[in-house]
């Protein structure tokens, strides 16, 4: 007689094995590709410096759109950081998305804003605009006060008012490095087909912030934040760089990305019914350009940096990961037409299937995988040796990928200059495998569940604010 439960266990164990093998192989390949392209990138930077290109050709004007919702604690610092950017021609549009706190008041008072007239250039549908303000201190700073409509709606609103050929979407709780615009604009100078470029996001927790600039780069003290430092290094230096090398950039982080305004508007702007609006826009741009036979280039560059404050509590981090997973599923479901569709070239045949089967379905394999592995072991279907060997392999693979990312950082940007931080990063590469990775898998699984329950909420994010030197002094005094 056929033992159905055993057959099922056997089958699922094989699925887990196959998933594990494919996922880690892809990661290793991406890491290796990143290694090569990061080296090349660093060398080419020496040859043709972007400051020089801008001096010769002039700077492409950029509008920075910073949507803000209840960002009272960080808005002034982050706006100051934007104003201090080293770029010849840019304006800032802060969009107050119906904040319930004192975000609006902070901006108006700190930057001497007065109400003015400004007509929208595009007509993307958004929640009602209540007023437009302009700073009397800084001619390039604008504030749009509107009814709450969500982040995508606020970005669309900013996009309606932007007049420059390029716009840069940033989170208002992020700090851009002084020369980040100069760096991120480079692909637009070098390749006229470039329609979007993303920069790297790094964790600001634990670093000292002075005058809106991250000064002293250190690892955070909070353990959860430290794990995220490692995660971001892996995701950006190894993952996104690797995908970009094979010209398959699928995600540009909402915290820092630059786009051609015209094509973003033509494609319909940000989609307001998703929590993954940043990824959705990039996927839609791919789709729009391919369907309309427009030559295009979407890229990632590893050195323009936006520093962001990451969650330090399990509750908030869980909410964030839940939302990311929901966003991913919403985007992939919305563009399911692209899945394994040769019409969309490598995007449809490689990048989309990767995100669909390995990133989106990952938690659906991993969570039951852990459980069924244990059941198989408890019922004697798998030997202790086999289970141990598998877990050791998974652990070493994890360590491997993380250390690879630390190596890439050391090879190129060397941001964590203290030897102690380097040792800490190695230590993190080891210990994140015991608990943290499983937690993120759980949150992603919860996000999948939330998606099917049609949860649409963004989830409140608590901000501590950046660790400014000024604030430290005040505390001490």
């Amino acid at each position: 007689m056929i033992d159905i439960p055993r057959l099922f266990l056997d089958f699922f164990n094989h699925v887990v094995l196959a998933y594990f093998f494919i996922l880690n192989t892809v990661y290793l390949i991406l890491n290796s590709i990143s290694f090569i392209s990061l080296r090349r990138y660093a060398r080419s930077m020496r040859v043709l410096q972007v400051d020089e290109l801008i001096n010769i050709a002039g700077a492409l004007p950029i509008t920075l759109i910073a949507p803000a919702y209840n960002e009272g604690s960080t808005i002034v610092e982050s706006t100051r950081s934007l104003l201090a950017l080293k770029y010849p021609d840019f304006e800032i549009i802060t969009v107050n998305d119906g904040s319930k706190d004192d975000t609006l008041k902070h901006v108006i008072e700190n930057f001497d804003m007065i109400q003015v007239s400004r007509a929208p250039i595009a007509s993307l549908k958004t929640a009602e605009v209540k007023a437009v303000y302009r700073s009397r201190k800084h001619y390039n700073l604008w504030l749009i006060d509107k009814e709450n409509g969500g982040k995508a709606d606020a970005l669309n609103c900013g996009l309606n008012y932007a007049r420059t050929p390029l716009f840069c979407a940033i989170d208002s709780d992020s700090l851009l490095e002084r020369d980040s615009l100069t760096r991120i604009v480079r692909p637009f100078l070098e390749n006229k087909e470039t329609i979007a470029a993303g920069g790297i996001i790094r964790i600001a927790n634990g670093c000292d912030v002075r005058g809106g600039e991250v000064k002293n780069i250190k690892l955070p003290k909070n353990q959860l934040a430290r794990f995220q430092v490692m995660e971001y290094l892996r995701a950006f230096l190894a993952g996104r760089m690797g995908w970009d090398t094979i010209k398959l950039t699928f995600i540009i982080s909402g915290a820092f990305g630059i786009f051609k305004r015209g094509i973003a508007i033509a494609a319909g702007g940000y989609h307001t019914q998703t929590v993954g609006e940043d990824m959705e826009l990039v996927v839609r741009l791919h789709r729009y350009c391919i369907e309309n036979s427009i030559p295009y280039h979407i890229t990632f560059i590893p050195d323009p940096v936006a520093w962001t404050e990451c969650p330090e509590s399990m509750k908030i981090l869980g909410r964030q990961r839940d939302r990311w997973q929901r966003g991913l599923i919403e985007v992939l479901f919305r563009h399911k037409k692209m899945l394994m569709n040769p019409r969309y070239g490598r995007i449809g045949m490689l990048a989309y299937p990767y995100f669909f089967f390995l990133e989106m379905c990952g938690p659906l394999v991993e969570v039951p995988g852990y459980l069924l592995f244990l059941i198989s072991w408890a019922t004697g279907n798998l030997s202790t040796m086999y289970v141990s060997a598998f877990f050791i392999l998974a652990f070493i693979f994890g360590v491997n990928l993380s250390i690879f990312a630390v190596g890439l950082e050391e090879l190129t940007f060397k941001r964590y200059g203290r030897f102690r931080d380097l040792l800490n990063l190695f230590w993190l590469a080891v210990i994140e495998n015991f608990g943290y990775r499983q937690l993120t898998t759980y949150w992603r699984a919860r996000g999948t569940w939330s998606f099917f329950r049609k949860v649409k909420s963004w989830g409140a994010m608590e901000r501590k604010g950046f660790q400014t030197i000024e604030a430290d002094r005040n505390k001490k005094s």
């Binding site: 090349r40 060398r43 080419s44 020496r46 040859v47 043709l48 290109l53 010769i56 050709a57 002039g58 492409l60 003015v116 007239s117 400004r118 007509a119 250039i121 595009a122 637009f188 100078l189 070098e190 390749n191 006229k192 087909e193 030997s383 040796m385 086999y386 060997a389 598998f390 050791i392 392999l393 070493i396 693979f397 360590v399 491997n400 250390i403 690879f404 630390v406 190596g407 050391e410 090879l411 060397k414 030897f419 380097l422 190695f426």
Partner: protein
């Protein structure tokens, strides 16, 4: 031997086979992880050592170069202070100084670098794209004209990066022949932004204008190349390019070419161009119309162009913006105010233009 182990492997049970593969993978990965960790530490140590070394070397070279600049030391005397392993670093350091000075001082520094420049020439054939580009960049900063043939050859290199660095090197010298060489290989630069490319070429100077005008009017050339030529002429303020309005401002001409030409006319346009611009405006293309309106405002200040009123009702916001600015620039503030405080769909835009400086 392999066959022997293979035989053992295939005689194992399936469970053991999997276990064996897992164990082997663990071992390999473990070795790899240890290798990665050591490499990272090594890299950190190497980087630190390197930066300490360069810092030390630069502290030695700096006073020597200052002495050469102040003519207290002969340029060739620096030879004993540059180890063959440090040539690249020395030239990079020297080139930073060369960029900051000119005249005789610059010449003295170039002389100091000459014995070493020859030693890096072989790197022009390096398999690494970035190395080839870096050598060209360095040679260009080290100045002598003798490397022009190498730069011209590099225009044909298979790498875009090398092409661009070579083009920049040639353009900077301001010689017409170099400019012509760049135009000859313009097809290599199709991917680069038109603005960047035209800015590079404009560095050659007005001597290149006849060749650019020829390219601008050559309908057999791709539209993007003609656009680059027009944008370059624009940057060179080439008034003679205005004589070709009858050739470019025609109904069947490429839209990008005409738009670029209108931008040029905005700088060099004269009354004689008005009929051509009006003809272009009749195409009712928003880009052409937006550009055309602004030139008409400048050229027809006395006879206020009636098309501005029509343009205020255009569906393209860019046309309306240009019309509103046109009204403002031609002193028709009362008309603009009328729009601003009416229920016209563009009233807010009119208010904005009125408020902006």
């Amino acid at each position: 031997m392999i066959r022997y182990y293979w035989h053992i492997f295939i005689t194992m049970s399936r469970q053991d086979q999997i276990l064996f593969v897992l164990t082997l993978s663990i071992l390999l990965l473990l070795i790899f992880v240890i290798f990665l960790a050591f490499s990272t530490f090594y890299l950190r140590a190497k980087n630190n050592r390197k930066s300490r070394k360069y810092y030390r070397l630069e502290r030695i070279w700096e006073p020597l170069l200052l002495e050469i600049l102040s003519e207290e030391r002969a340029p060739e005397s620096i030879k004993s202070y540059v180890h063959p392993d440090d040539i690249w670093q020395f030239l990079t350091y020297l080139s930073r100084y060369i960029a900051r000075v000119d005249g005789e001082a610059r010449q003295r520094l170039i002389e100091a670098g000459q014995p070493y420049v020859k030693r890096i020439l072989n790197k022009l054939h390096s398999w690494r794209v970035e190395k080839r580009a870096e050598v060209i960049s360095l040679l260009q900063r080290m100045d002598p004209d003798q490397y022009d043939p190498a730069f011209k050859k590099a225009l044909k290199d298979r790498s875009f990066l090398v092409n661009m660095v070579a083009a920049r090197a040639l353009a900077r010298k301001g010689q017409v022949e170099n400019g012509k060489a760049i135009l000859k290989h313009l097809n290599r630069f199709e991917i680069w932004s038109v603005n960047l490319l035209s800015s590079f070429i404009a560095q050659v100077g007005n001597g290149l204008s006849p060749a650019l005008r020829a390219l601008m009017t050559d309908r057999n050339k791709p539209a993007w190349q003609r656009t680059v030529a027009i944008e370059t002429l624009h940057k060179l303020y080439d008034f003679k390019a205005g004589d070709y309005a009858n050739v470019i401002c025609t109904p069947d001409e490429n839209r990008e070419v005409v738009a670029a030409y209108l931008r040029l006319l905005r700088v060099i346009g004269e009354e004689k161009h008005i009929p051509y611009i009006k003809q272009v405006c009749e195409r009712n293309d928003p880009v052409l119309l937006a550009n055309g309106i602004r030139i008409l405002v400048n050229l027809e200040k006395e006879k206020f162009p009636a098309c501005l009123y029509k343009a205020m009702d255009h569906s393209s916001i860019w046309v309306v913006i240009n019309a509103a600015w046109g009204l403002k620039e031609s002193g028709k503030l009362d008309v603009l105010r009328h729009y601003a405080y009416s229920d016209h769909p563009r009233a807010e835009l009119a208010r904005q233009v009125l408020m902006e400086a």
